[in-house]
Point group: C2
Chain length 444, copies 2
């Protein structure tokens, strides 16, 4: 028998941390819905060949097998756990295209699994919260400006440090490289994406190895250095003297993203022309997100525009998506002791029990309080009141209710202050700040 | 490449159905929290030997393997997907006993996976909503009376047919069989559990094969026929003339369960002395649940009391739990077309766009409505208004907002009635019944 112990890479939260996670998920969900995104929940498994479509991710996939699989049962075809929410969403769209209305705005908050070697902030099982807007044939660029506002609103409601969404546009990179006379723009993009890791000298060396001239490499590095909170980056790029129609298109789209963000939440987005999002198949805007003070945890929210989420026959489905790494964000915050819940249970009140024969009466009081939306437990036993108060105290429950004895009325005690007042279960209300556990961060 | 098609046994809901599912889950969660249950979310995987502890379930387990597993990496030890939420909960309690407060009330709403052959109402991936109360060493019987009230409240708030929780107590069966002079009470219990399948004649034959005398078999069948909505079953059992201390204890506990339920929600519980819950390791109260008209879908909510959820050294953790089969319940309701959502998106209002250059102004109106809790989308394009109204109509969105042109004020149109009124985004409110999609059942 294996020892009972945590599994590396499979985070689990204790009850008070779980309350923080729930509050984060509720807030994120609520924001997504305010923007009209519909919820989707896809199965955890996909056919293996669908998961391996992109090739690059094969090492990450968990494959399933029934312990007593029947080789004659076609339903036992190779299945794997999804490693993101984009592949299942693309499959869902193709499978149900006739039943969906386009443009289709959906959010999906689910676990994903990756068989990677666990490391700080890199899990094998984690929760992502994705929004995507997908359309048939064409997708207007204004959605690329809308998505970061949704994420900005979601994060602004959470006790997390200030978020900055770093944006770029693949058209800018592709157009600029082409305009600079570089043939294999994709290869150059991949090298530039490593700038933060290998530095300008490393990039120059790798570009030289690709046959890129020194003057071209200098232009690429100069582009990568451009960064601005407003549309001023357009002029900066212009000064580099490279021109190309795709570059112009990309600059206009990127300026629209930054300007929309500036109007909605000043400082939310920053054009950062070195961002490329590695090997992902983006074709327009790309996003990464830094939280002030948590930069070393990497991008906590990433995504981009893709022209081909899925295709089937003559149908093409372009889209744009952004994904919050919820588990990674929570892992970072818990690791910094930066967020806590005021109690480990939803309970507001414990009804004391003076003797076991009074339990039914205590149950009736609890039922009345619950019917009024007040989470209530009845004491597990008829121990001394001091012990029943400690039962509440240990869990952070703020109130203990004492049913009246010998004709006296009920009283309720705030065990933090010691204040005890007369109360009727059909009328008493706690302050609204006590109704649910308070989730507080050092960053609020 | 595998064909894009549904996978048998892995249900997925369309957006409007998903809204129904969300409403069900919210209501269930809310009820669990009103009773003070804390949420837990455990990882999807457990070590295989933990999953196979009970032996009987080996055929159901999905085993995981990393596509490119490293044989030298101990973290690649055999893992399987959990097939219920009880095994992971027991492991979590042992792993974190020092950090939890007992009695520990937790709920857990998660997917589970079973590699069974898919059939009507039997899925390979499905959502369960579990509540359990677990304590150290001993657990008072009053919790066995409390749990069905929680489930009763959760179901009463949903558009589902009337639920009846059928209850029995293993002590009644065990004590009665012992008192009737039967040696192998366990074996007899297993035979009686098949009563509905094989009938009284089948049971009599199987009992005879076990060496049970005809008179004893008659007593067992007579016990199995007893059923009552109140404590009158105690007298009925008494008339059979069997006496045993464990029987008396079980009858008292069972009477307490039925009486507490009768006080809380008359008709919610029925003592049904044939219920045994097959091979599960229950030691006290056992529960099954029927919904009127949906009996053929089997028990939609089951559980019981166990004296040993987990043990470690000298620590024993008795508990009692009940589990709602959420996916099975939804599958039954969708199969009967018995529940629908009024729209397929959370959106209340679509803001119309007269021309693309007006989009920013439309975005500002949308932001104001959202800040006031009204889910809003902006029209995807500046098509003719008739087309923009159809965009809303197809999704069931009730309102279209028209920004005022040429100095005129904004108006909002209820596209169901055609009523159009002047409105300001900072003040207008839809009727509260329009604020969220309405979920309605033929059973409300």
């Amino acid at each position: 028998m294996s020892k009972i112990m945590p599994l590396s890479g499979f985070p689990e939260w204790l009850p008070a941390q779980r309350i923080v996670e729930q509050r984060f998920l509720e807030r994120i969900q609520r924001t997504f819905e305010l923007y009209g995104f519909a919820s989707l929940d896809t199965r955890a498994v996909e056919p293996l060949d669908q998961l391996l479509r992109k090739g690059e991710t094969s090492k990450e996939v968990y494959v399933l097998r029934r312990l007593q699989a029947d080789p004659n049962d076609a339903s036992d075809a190779s299945l794997g756990l999804h490693f993101d929410l984009t592949v299942p969403f693309a499959r869902f769209v193709l499978e149900n295209a006739g039943k969906l209305h386009f443009p289709f705005r959906r959010y999906q908050i689910q676990k994903v699994w990756r068989g990677e070697r666990p490391a700080a902030g890199r899990y094998r099982e984690f929760i992502q919260a994705d929004i995507d807007i997908v359309d048939r044939d064409t997708l207007p660029a204004h959605y690329e400006a809308e998505l970061p506002l949704v994420i900005g609103d979601a994060l602004a409601g959470l006790p997390v440090p200030k978020a900055t969404i770093l944006v770029n546009n693949r058209k800018v990179l592709q157009g600029f490289y082409t305009g600079a006379g570089i043939e294999d723009a994709e290869a150059v993009m991949r090298v530039l994406d490593k700038l933060d890791k290998i530095g300008p000298a490393g990039v120059t060396a790798e570009l030289a190895a690709l046959g890129v001239a020194e003057s071209q490499a200098k232009l690429c590095l100069a582009l990568a250095e451009i960064s601005a909170h407003d549309a001023s980056f357009v002029d900066e790029v212009g000064k580099l003297g490279v021109s190309d129609p795709l570059l112009e298109e990309g600059l206009a789209e990127l300026a629209a993203v930054v300007e929309a963000a500036n109007e909605h939440s000043p400082g939310l987005c920053r054009a950062e022309l070195k961002i490329a999002r590695g090997l992902d198949y983006y074709t327009g805007t790309v996003y990464e997100t830094q939280l002030a003070g948590l930069e070393r945890y990497g991008s906590l929210c990433s995504g981009g525009r893709y022209d081909n989420l899925a295709e089937s026959g003559n149908d093409r489905f372009p889209g744009v998506g952004l994904s919050i790494g919820v588990s990674r964000l929570l892992g970072a915050l818990f690791g910094e002791n930066a967020v806590t819940a005021s109690r480990s249970v939803p309970t507001v009140v414990v009804v004391a029990v003076a003797a076991e024969e009074d339990r039914r009466a205590a149950d009736r009081i609890a039922a009345t309080l619950r019917s009024r939306g007040i989470a209530t437990e009845v004491s597990p036993n008829a121990a001394k009141f001091g012990k029943q108060i400690r039962f509440a105290e240990r869990r952070g429950i703020p109130y203990v209710w004492f049913p009246g004895q010998d004709g006296a009325g009920d009283t309720v005690k705030d065990i933090r202050s010691g204040d005890q007042v007369e109360a009727a279960a059909g009328q008493w209300n706690p302050p609204s700040s006590d109704l649910h556990p308070a989730v507080e961060g050092t960053f609020n």
